[in-house]
Symmetry: C2
Subunit: 342 residues, 2 copies
């Protein structure tokens, strides 16, 4: 390649020492929310300053960083009580999870929400065992909403992606209402049974410590079914008009459960980090029209960034079926550190 | 360049016919908010479904598209009553502004919030004249918060960038409280007098109809003082650690009014479209520490995307000085079509 400048265009990032990328991000988050969040640098823990409380199950999560706002920026009333992320695209060390669990423990127990990656499963399993030995009640929900592929680079079974948000929202709201641990596990599993996602990318992303893109796509190539750590999807394809891309993803997601005419659904267009919101709304337009054609009632919509892959250009579609219970949980009050206009 | 794939990596976008980029985005926005927003395709107008009302000044804006969420996604209670954007990076036709003004007219008048670009000024001036001939009361506030350069590619004087958000927020809140047109003009001008911004980019962006980047930076180059349409800034520089970049922008912004020890301020890190929120929080960390060093009291912070430049990787810093009146307006209730977690 004689054009030495071009590949590196993708690798310029706002970073100081790459080893401090996650701590500095977390410090920024804590500085911006000093009245509501506490930050424990030793274990990458961000927790609600007013949690734990005794009459409520604590809901926690910790997966790789690089997917923000998931999940450290989902800590707040009606959402997570705490999060303990690992480094970029790597599971948290077991002791982070164990310390976070102990810190958030209440007599009602602690709910672990775990995305289905081998690294995450292993550290959360070990931390659960240690916590249970300490007498802490633990409930577990595994999220695996990505219909793209069975098994993947870091996964046995399906990957957990943006559907995670709906599990957090439902369990967070139900925990706030005082539900018991077993009920929350049931709610979380019901959401996971009713939510499906699929993503695609126009290009790769560059982890700070790696300094080069995870993968490179050609000038007219896209990756259909991409994972949020750059894992390969179903196939590479040629670039297409936006509506054609939405059609393929929507069909793959909708036909999986399958969703049915008359279903009340939540419909999400999730940006992967590098796609502007203007394009996300253009994509939502087609998804909403397809939902109407199929007779789904979109009672909640979500357009923005929920589960990203650093600065990856791309998006995912998530559809969740909402019965009355889940609808009320989705519409329950929630507050997160990310402010928009108010 | 033998690597033919690389340049085009930047030009892949989610688009159908480029001529429909803005209408399809607006249609998506309307579909996602069918209960609260109305869309008038003929004039690119997005307006609150419950506006105008007689006892309230209407607040409207319309500049180029490609800066979303500014400003069509800032239409809502306590913010704009309507917006009438032009095409990507181009001012709205005069008749869009005129029709939008007539549609939102009330006995208390219509406030025009105008970013300081020659194209915008011209169409809003003409529309104001026509509206006044019709007997409509018009107030005007010009926003020119960018300290980077005096005069620019499309501007005489300074450019209007993310500081616009604070003008919208203050005037939108004050209008909701029933203030008169003249008072709103005073409030808007006070905000503009007390807000300063500066941005920088790691790379360019690609307008849909152009199909190639507005400008290209080398592998180790950045543009300091970039405009939101790719206008040149103060200079090109070599890539630096994130904290060093924040220091330069913060110093340029802080020294302009200048802000002073003891000032109550709002501090914004605004992503330009292609920079992930993880990096924005890392950048906010340094800005918050610098504000503390200088003795500014950060009473409101804003971290995310407010005024973008399509998918441009980069950010801007905005500082606004908040007296008691402006602080209460910034903290007043507001609601916009962009939902995060609730």
């Amino acid at each position: 390649m004689s054009d030495i400048s071009a590949p590196t265009l993708h690798t310029k990032k706002f970073v100081n020492d790459p080893a401090n990328f996650v701590p500095e991000m977390l410090e920024g988050l804590a500085l911006a929310n000093s009245d509501t969040l506490k930050y424990i640098p030793e274990y990458n823990i961000i927790h609600r300053a007013d949690r734990p409380v005794e009459d409520k199950v604590s809901v926690i999560q910790g997966s790789g960083s690089g997917h923000e706002p998931a999940h450290v920026m989902a800590v707040g009333p009606g959402m997570l009580d705490a999060a303990c992320p690992g480094g970029v695209f790597s599971a948290p060390p077991m002791e982070y999870v164990y310390e976070c669990t102990k810190l958030m423990n209440t007599s009602k127990g602690v709910l672990h929400l775990i995305n289905n990656y081998q690294g995450d499963r292993m550290c959360w399993d070990m931390a659960r065992e240690m916590s249970e030995t300490d007498g802490i009640k633990i409930g577990t929900v595994i999220i695996d909403d990505d219909v793209s592929v069975e098994n993947s680079t870091y996964t046995t079974g399906r990957r957990g992606v943006a559907g995670n948000f709906f599990v957090i929202k439902a369990c967070g709201a139900a925990a706030e209402m005082g539900k018991e641990l077993e009920e929350l596990v049931g709610i979380g599993r019901k959401v996971n049974d009713n939510v499906r996602s699929m993503g695609m990318a126009l290009g790769g992303c560059t982890p700070p410590a790696k300094g080069e893109p995870l993968f490179v796509l050609g000038d007219d190539e896209i990756e259909v079914g991409i994972g949020i750590h750059g894992e390969p999807g179903r196939r590479r394809d040629r670039m297409k008009p936006a509506d054609a891309i939405v059609e393929e993803l929507f069909e793959a997601v909708a036909s999986d459960i399958p969703f049915e005419r008359g279903d009340n659904v939540g419909l999400m267009i999730n940006g992967l980090g590098g796609t502007p919101i203007s394009e996300l709304y253009l994509l939502y337009r087609k998804a909403a029209l397809l939902a109407k054609d199929r007779g789904y009632n979109v009672i909640q919509n979500y357009i923005g960034e929920y589960c990203t892959s650093l600065e990856m250009p791309g998006f995912s579609i998530t559809i969740v079926r909402l019965d009355e219970e889940l609808e009320s949980l989705m519409k329950a009050p929630a507050s997160v550190p990310i402010r928009v206009f108010a």
